[in-house]
């Protein structure tokens, strides 16, 4: 079963965290080692990081089909910072991986315990819609 693990941790106006260089490196090394582990266990489908919110745009279709873009977001809006897609045997395994990612080291090496949203991925539209 495929699950997506989402880090919805970014806020508008925030860029690279202002942590000591050493702590940033430890954080990145942790994430790379987690990805390596998941690749070796055959559970990693993909992992991506997204650019910072100042480049984000909301797009709606305007009249004549031309896109209408907007880059102003409420301060409370959560932005996706990155995600993992994993192919695992159970929801519990997806939660265990999410817990690991959640506890990634932050400033001073302390676990961040950031919230990770875990959702099953549909392999197709629900049957009743076909």
């Amino acid at each position: 079963m495929k699950y997506i693990l989402m880090m919805n941790t970014m806020r508008a106006g925030h860029g690279v965290p202002e942590w000591p260089q050493k702590d940033l490196r430890t954080h990145i090394a942790f994430m790379m080692s987690l990805n390596k582990e998941l690749r070796e266990s055959g559970e990693l489908v993909s992992a991506e990081g997204l650019s910072f919110p100042e480049q984000a745009r909301l797009v709606r279709a305007g009249k004549n089909g031309a896109p209408v873009t907007d880059g102003v977001f409420p301060e409370s809006k959560e932005f996706l910072a990155g995600y993992w897609i994993v192919d695992v045997d159970s929801a519990e395994r997806a939660y265990a991986i999410a817990a690991k990612a959640s506890a990634a080291p932050g400033p001073g090496g302390a676990p961040l315990n950031m919230p990770i949203e875990v959702r099953p991925i549909m392999s197709g539209p629900p049957l009743e819609m076909l």
Partner: protein, 123 residues
């Protein structure tokens, strides 16, 4: 450049969609299918996924005695990711044009367009 096009909505929005007449849902699906087909033919398609509904979502924070701490209660107003498209296009304008087409096919729901991060080594 790779962009991700994110379609989000609330639980109430998802329920309203499920209440659409069957033929409207079919017509909507057919247009989205057509867009995927066009992107595949133009070589811009990377991936697309639909996500299961908010009822199956959990938020995980750290762990206690090796057990992940999960929570499945969300505020009514919370926006959930419903699905996404990843496209590989020459510029942001092209990503916006594709997002506009998806939006037009889906009751003008706003589509968030974000570029993938490219990692640079900082000195």
């Amino acid at each position: 450049m790779k962009y991700i096009l994110l379609m989000s909505g609330t639980s109430a929005g998802v329920e309203a969609y499920h209440a659409w007449p069957k033929e409207d849902i079919e017509a909507h699906m057919a247009v989205l299918w057509r867009i995927n087909q066009d992107l595949t033919e133009s070589g811009e398609f990377v991936a697309t996924q639909g996500l299961a509904g908010p009822r199956e979502a959990k938020v995980v924070r750290g762990e206690k005695n090796g057990v992940p701490v999960t929570d499945g209660i969300f505020p009514e107003s919370k926006e959930f990711l419903l699905g996404y498209w990843i496209v590989d296009v020459p510029n942001a304008e092209r990503a916006y044009a594709i997002a506009g087409r998806i939006s037009a096919a889906s009751t003008n729901i706003p589509i968030e367009v974000r570029q993938f991060a490219t990692y640079e080594t900082k000195s």
